[in-house]
């Protein structure tokens, strides 16, 4: 049935048709429903593997699902807790759902809108890369971020971060992180502080709206555990390592629950979509610097607990492993991942003003990934040159 529909409207969008300028968009929708009937071309392989980018990227989206679902519940849970509402499970889920939907709408309408327009202008097929970026962005921004700010951040990330470099596959920085960094540096007041990570709290504080159970705020004034990055601080805020692992704490929607993120990591690793080398070396790097930190008395948090805090787990699993912006060589991946983990914890330990280092660690290493690769590839080139001399 759907096939008939596409067959019927195809001439309109094909060359010479009335809407031929919308060809890329038509193609994007058609290939969403149907794997196209194109056959392999002259001078190439006559058979091809059935995997394509759509498949690989949908797996990343599926891997993100546990973190999203948990985050939706957690939004309601935190709201209910702070405001002393005593909500039931479905009420919490509903609250989170209502909060997150506009963010997704904005992320996809603005982001995909630009992608479609750009593909149209270039006459390319629409690339699926933004499906994942657009899915991640709402998970890593404060849930109360003003919608217009989010729209600008998404537009910035897609246009300046991606399209100017040539689109999907050509970008230097992870677009989702770029959107977050843009928000962070452009609107710091909305992006840091103690109250932004619980839905509705900021507004309530600003407006002086009285709410039931106002006294709760004192005990919870520190929103994310990172603001209390010491054992005393954590226990004062009533946060145990178990809470950090489970994720029933304030924070960005997707990043709080390590257990949900681990589920996603499992999916990514079993399907081989993300590099286990990057994940593994990032954890090693974080453990190493965390251990140095405790050894030299910079912090009293055991190094393994660093792995549970803040955006480390989310960044390691979903953003450091972005195949476009990470190191491209297998040796390079070990170095790249290790440095991300190490830098993240270093920032955390030495910059009390800015406790969350993952975003900057990844963006910095995105910048240096080509350099790492350059040296790895140069080693191969030198091996070849040396071989020529000795023979």
């Amino acid at each position: 049935m759907a096939k008939n529909f596409f067959d019927k409207v195809r001439p309109t969008f094909s060359e010479g048709g009335k809407l031929s300028w919308l060809h890329s968009s038509f193609d994007a929708f058609e290939t969403f429903f149907f794997v196209p009937n194109r056959t392999t071309r002259k001078g190439g392989t006559h058979v091809k593997d059935c995997v394509d980018l759509k498949r690989l990227l949908i797996i990343v989206v599926i891997a993100l699902m546990p973190a999203l679902l948990f985050g939706i519940w957690n939004l309601g849970f935190q709201h209910s807790k702070v405001f002393g509402l005593g909500w039931g499970f479905w009420q919490m889920v509903w609250y989170g759902f209502v909060k997150i939907i506009p963010l997704y709408l904005i992320s996809y309408i603005v982001g995909l809108g630009i992608e479609f327009a750009s593909a149209q202008m270039k006459g390319h097929e629409v690339s699926e890369g933004y499906l994942v970026s657009g899915f991640i962005i709402p998970l890593i921004v404060p849930v109360d971020v003003p919608w217009w700010m989010l729209a600008i951040a998404v537009a910035f990330a897609v246009i300046i971060g991606k399209e100017v470099f040539g689109g999907t596959g050509m970008n230097i920085w992870n677009p989702a992180l770029l959107a977050r960094a843009f928000l962070f540096f452009s609107y710091p007041s909305k992006m840091s502080g103690d109250s932004i990570w619980v839905g509705g709290l900021n507004k309530a504080l600003a407006g002086g709206t009285p709410w039931k159970g106002g006294e709760v705020v004192d005990a919870l004034s520190g929103a994310t555990p990172l603001s209390h990055a010491s054992l005393d601080g954590l226990s004062a805020a009533g946060t145990s390592a178990w809470n950090l692992f489970l994720g029933d704490i304030p924070g960005a929607v997707g990043e709080t629950s390590v257990i949900a993120i681990l589920l996603g990591a499992l999916i990514l690793l079993c399907t081989g979509v993300a590099s286990w080398k990057i994940m593994c070396s990032s954890v090693l790097g974080a453990l190493f610097v965390g251990w140095l930190g405790t050894s030299f008395g910079v912090t009293d948090i055991p190094c393994w607990e660093q792995l549970l805090m803040g955006g480390f787990a989310f960044g390691t699993v979903f953003m450091a492993t972005d195949p476009v912006t990470s190191a491209q060589t297998e040796t390079g991946k070990w170095i790249y991942g290790f440095l991300i983990g190490a830098l993240c914890i270093t920032v955390r330990l030495f910059n009390p003003g800015y406790p969350e280092g993952m975003m900057l660690a990844i963006l910095l290493m995105n910048t240096f990934a080509p350099l790492i690769d350059h040296y790895v590839v140069s080693a191969n080139v030198n091996r070849r040159l040396k071989r020529a001399k000795t023979v």
């Binding site: 394509d52 980018l53 690339s127």
Partner: protein, 448 residues
Amino acid sequence: MSDQIRLKKGLDLPIAGAALCEVTLQVSPDLVAVKPTDFRGMVPRLLVKEGDSVKAGTPLFSDKKCPEMVFCSPVSGTVDAVVRGDKRKLLAVRVKADGKKEAVRFDVPKISSLDKKGMTEMLLKSGLWPCLKQRPFGTVADPQAEPKAIFISAMNTAPLGADWDFTLKNDLAAIQAGIDALGRLTKGGVHLSLAAKNYAGSEFHKLSGVIFHQFEGPHPAGNVGVQINHISPINKGEVVWTVSLPLVAVIGRFFLKGVYDACRTIAVAGPAAINPSYAEVPAGVCMADLAAYFPKEDVRIVSGDVLSGEAVGADGFLGFYDDQVSVLKEGNYYEMFGWINPLRSKKFSVSRAYPAFLRRKKYDMDTNENGGERPFLMNDVYDKVLPMDIYPLYLFKACLAGDLDKMEQLGIYEVVEEDVALCEYVCPSKIEIQKIIREGIELMMKEM
């Protein structure tokens, strides 16, 4: 005892329709063709015209750059047609066989009495020279060059490839003669690679005058380019020659019988082939003579293997270097929600994004692209199917950029299209990688 090299990277394509080890058809020569397009780096000068009568071994065209290098008719008959394409490019010379089986007789001296110069002249004159390919770039060998060594793969790992232990089982003496002849051309020796798992079972280990190597591993372990990379990689300024094993037998037959006899036993295989098995055919056989193997429906007929062969069509001709015809269904259909189907049990993927890695079965592969073309995104898939000390993605990008220095540094001398064919097969972005390498090689040849 020879050295044993074990390769882990690569992929044996689980494609259905392997040829059964029996000869089910003997094609007597009818219409055959010699295609100048089979020979890279060669500019043809036509030596015959339509209606001329020729014998097996009569030159049809020669190379403009090296007029001694001739390309001969494989059968006796009359020149049926000279096929030209755009800008009058010579595409094929067709010969209609007369059934008389006349051949040009050559005075063949003893192999051991020939030096390099004499052997080169003999091979050039007899039309056998084009059997030798040259690396870098996979061109026809340059008779002036001094090759470091000559490499022969006696291990066919190509998907549905002919089983040489079967097709060449009666040609052992010819292969030995061919090897002796090739041995006169180089000081570096003739290297022969065998499959490690079948080393003792193969007749080829009885050959003498060669340096044996054993390889183990999935395709492309049988590709001579991959083997060279592990035995003695090609450096800048070096030249090696390669000959495929069936063509070594052709060279040998010439020295045993004194005639140009390029008949061969080919595998006709593939998921769409009827009764996939072997056929004895003249060189350059017309696909119409093999029609018994092809179904009526919309199929693609490929001279060569499914990864790097050429689609020639039902009235096309077998390539000079090929000993295999693959038959595939055309995949011009739409597949609803194919990419989101969790199982997709009819299609194979090497990626664990599909559960195909859990299944042990052969697939009826077709020519569907299974997706649209996208920019390079995944960076670790190519490396896993290229068992060479090369960073494939960087080499491809250097070729795309036309950066000659980078291409040279990253190993363009060591690969030809067939070596990277699996990279193209697995590419989730559906990029035409063999085309990229081909254009890279053509650019290098033009600039050097």
